[in-house]
């Protein structure tokens, strides 16, 4: 059986109505709800695809405070996962990506009792502003082949390889879709544009069955939950959390406004006299004059 792992993250919910900003435009973290991050959800969908198509069993992991359980639960709804893992320890707090990857490496190492995980998925980035570094760093520490920006994949179980399509877009260039083949195990960060496609009737039947089961399982998700600390992940405390992070946040400031050469004219649109010259100008430009 194919073993699939997913690493996910609890993130602020940026969707309309849930996100709250301070008056200076910064995120109000206390007021903003936290959910399973949207990119993590896409990674979950990819794992679920493996379950429907190849009969995989799924293990989900997250490093975070106890509240991150809620993300695991949401992930179970999406994946019908057999196993949920919370890596939670005060020592992990304040980790940068390298120190996070250190924990996730050992976490993935413990999935399904410690065998090889054939495919591990991570999200493209954490919501909006994060780095996208955690996935590839975890992959490197695990020694798994890394594939980024994957938009489609198929597994050849006999040959134990994955064939994947990746998106490459570089500054000023047309986008490239690259098709690659790699032996298992692999670590895949899934592109935001990934969509699972279920072609056959039997797949759709399975999909519905697993969806139902997933919802059911999630009602009693604690039964599937394992909680790990740095000790039972065999981690060196010097390599995790703030202590194990090469980087620190030194300063946060407002970005000064850019100096520009434009002389801004402010227009009050309620007065038609203000609008007319503008209209003429737009029409001229539209006509290429």
């Amino acid at each position: 059986m194919l073993n699939v792992g997913v690493i996910i993250k609890l993130e602020p919910d940026f969707s309309e109505g849930n996100v709250s900003y301070n008056s200076d435009g910064t995120l109000n973290r206390a007021e903003t709800k936290n959910i399973l991050g949207p990119h993590s959800a896409v990674a979950c969908n990819a794992a679920f695809y493996c379950k429907v198509k190849y009969g995989a069993q799924i293990s989900i992991g997250t490093m975070g405070p106890p509240i991150a359980e809620t993300a695991l639960r949401q992930a179970q709804v999406l994946t019908n996962a057999e196993e949920l893992n919370l890596y939670s320890d005060r020592l992990f707090a304040g980790a940068d990506t390298l120190a996070t990857a250190e924990v996730l490496k050992n976490g993935v190492g413990k999935m399904f009792g410690g065998g090889i995980i054939d495919i591990v998925f991570s999200g493209h980035r954490a919501s909006d502003g994060e780095t996208g570094q955690t996935g590839p760093q975890t992959a490197w520490k695990l020694g798994y082949t890394f594939l980024g920006n994957v938009i489609e994949f198929n597994i050849d179980s006999d040959r134990k390889v994955v064939i994947a399509k990746r998106l490459i877009s570089l500054q000023g260039m047309d986008t490239i879709i690259e098709e690659v083949e790699s032996p298992l195990p692999v670590f895949i960060t899934i592109d935001p544009s990934y969509r699972s496609i279920y072609n056959t009737v039997s797949q759709r039947l399975l999909l519905n069955k697993f969806r139902k089961e997933g919802r059911k399982r999630s009602e009693d998700y604690r039964q599937f939950l394992k909680v790990y600390t740095s000790k039972n992940l065999d981690l060196d405390p010097k390599r995790v959390g703030l202590q194990g992070s090469p980087t620190i946040v030194y300063r946060v400031e407002k970005i000064p406004r850019a100096r520009t050469n434009r002389k801004t004219e402010i227009i009050d649109p309620s007065n038609p006299n203000n609008i007319m010259p503008l209209i003429t100008k737009i029409i001229q430009l539209a006509r290429g004059k």
Binding site: P136, L170, I176
Partner: protein, 407 residues
């Protein structure tokens, strides 16, 4: 622990970390612009650095590929002092695993150091700083290379400063104030585009968790820096590195297909972009923008948050407009039309960077404090729901029957 060993010895003898290594990206024989931008910034930083610290450290470009020798001279003319290149058929296209191993080998290679800076050969351990592009290739490559070199990395940087800083940190310095020299201050705009976070990669000087973290790495936003002017008279050392390629290649590239961008911003004269300001009535407001854009023959762009589909709108509008291909800014397209109309968007740095070269900029926004005002020639102070219908109406009247499209 080198620091305490020999205060009387000149610092130059004991420093283990040297130079800025810039990881070059190229595609089918062409250098990707961000590469030259990184070289330009590295040049500026190194010139100041060498003057300030009275040293002779270098900008070192690292190129992997196939038939890349001819790129090396160009890299020198754009600011590199040395170019290290690895040329091999298997390196024709970037493959993360292979490239990571080779770059990490190069970064630790004393033989190469002998060729580019013989004076540092004996003490050299690793690069001092390392720059990558914050794009599909560089983002992942920077992550894996720095994981292999066991050091720290900041992503999506748009400003860099090298300075000496007094740091007091619970873990790094065990609460003491310690002077760190030659620290790379890496500025990263946050998700809102209005806050700047400065990230530092610092050695742990706390004896209980002592560990050195070099190189100090970062990935750089395309478009953030300016290349230096090409100077064909510049001289540099070009060194070939013969990589140890694992012939048991794990990953095979089966096929590469170029897909043309679905939206062509290059040839259009007017771009109309909208942002989260549509929020009060997304469906209606997008339709307004659509009508307005059609009327004046404009292409439509969006801000990044909209590509994440934060609103419930009809499938038709959603799949047409809320797509990554329409994002204007560092995560999407750069545009420079004759007219850019910014509707309901605030003007975050990442967005501005993609439209600032437009000839004329008009914005529609009720909030005079939105930074887009600084980048606007005309700022129409008002809600899009109120302003757009007036514009549409007036333009229709003035244009009478002749459509602009056919013009």
């Amino acid at each position: 622990m080198s620091v305490s060993v020999s205060q009387e010895k000149t610092k130059n003898d004991i420093e283990k970390y040297r130079h800025i290594y810039v990881i070059i990206e190229h595609f089918e024989g062409k250098i990707i612009p961000v590469t030259l931008e990184m070289l330009g910034e590295a040049r500026r930083l190194m010139d100041e650095f060498n003057q300030k610290y009275n040293s002779s450290e270098k900008v070192v470009a690292v190129v992997l590929g196939y038939n890349v020798r001819q790129l090396c001279n160009d890299l020198v003319t754009y600011g590199a002092d040395s170019v290290i290149y690895a040329d091999h058929e298997e390196l024709k296209y970037p493959i993360n695993d292979i490239d990571t191993k080779i770059i990490a080998q190069i970064a630790k290679d004393a033989e190469i150091m002998k060729k580019i800076s013989p004076e540092y050969e004996k003490t050299f351990v690793k690069p001092r700083y390392m720059f990558f592009a914050a794009d599909n290739i560089g983002r992942h490559l920077s992550s894996t290379v720095l994981a292999e070199l066991d050091s720290g990395l900041a992503s999506d940087i748009n400003k860099l400063v090298i300075s000496d800083l007094d740091i007091r940190h619970e873990h790094k310095t065990k609460g003491q104030s310690i002077r760190y020299e030659k620290v790379l201050e890496m500025y990263r705009p946050d998700f809102s585009g209005f806050l700047w976070t400065t990230i530092l990669c610092l050695d742990n000087k706390n004896p209980e968790i002592f560990r050195e973290y070099h190189p100090q790495g970062c990935s750089i936003i395309p478009g953030a820096f300016k290349p230096i002017e090409k100077d064909s008279s510049r001289k540099g050392t070009i060194v070939e590195y013969s990589p140890n390629i694992d012939h048991n290649l794990k990953i095979k590239i089966l096929n590469r297909r170029v897909i043309k961008k679905t939206i062509d911003y290059e040839t259009c004269k007017i771009v109309v972009s909208f942002g989260r300001g549509i929020k009060d009535n997304p469906e209606q407001n997008i339709k307004l923008v659509e009508e307005f854009a059609e009327l004046i023959g404009a292409e439509i762009g969006i801000t990044l948050p909209l590509s994440k589909k934060p609103y419930q709108i009809s499938q038709q509008l959603d799949s047409k407009y809320m797509i990554v291909d329409r994002v204007i800014g560092t995560s999407g397209s750069n545009v420079m039309p004759s007219l850019y109309i910014a509707i309901g968007l605030s003007g975050a740095v990442q967005h501005i960077s993609g439209m600032k070269d437009s000839e004329v900029v008009i914005s529609i926004n009720p909030d005079e404090n939105s930074p887009i005002i600084d980048e606007s020639d005309i700022f129409i102070k008002g809600r899009m729901e109120d302003v757009l219908p007036i514009l549409i109406d007036q333009i229709k009247k003035q244009m009478s029957t002749v459509s602009i499209r056919s013009n």
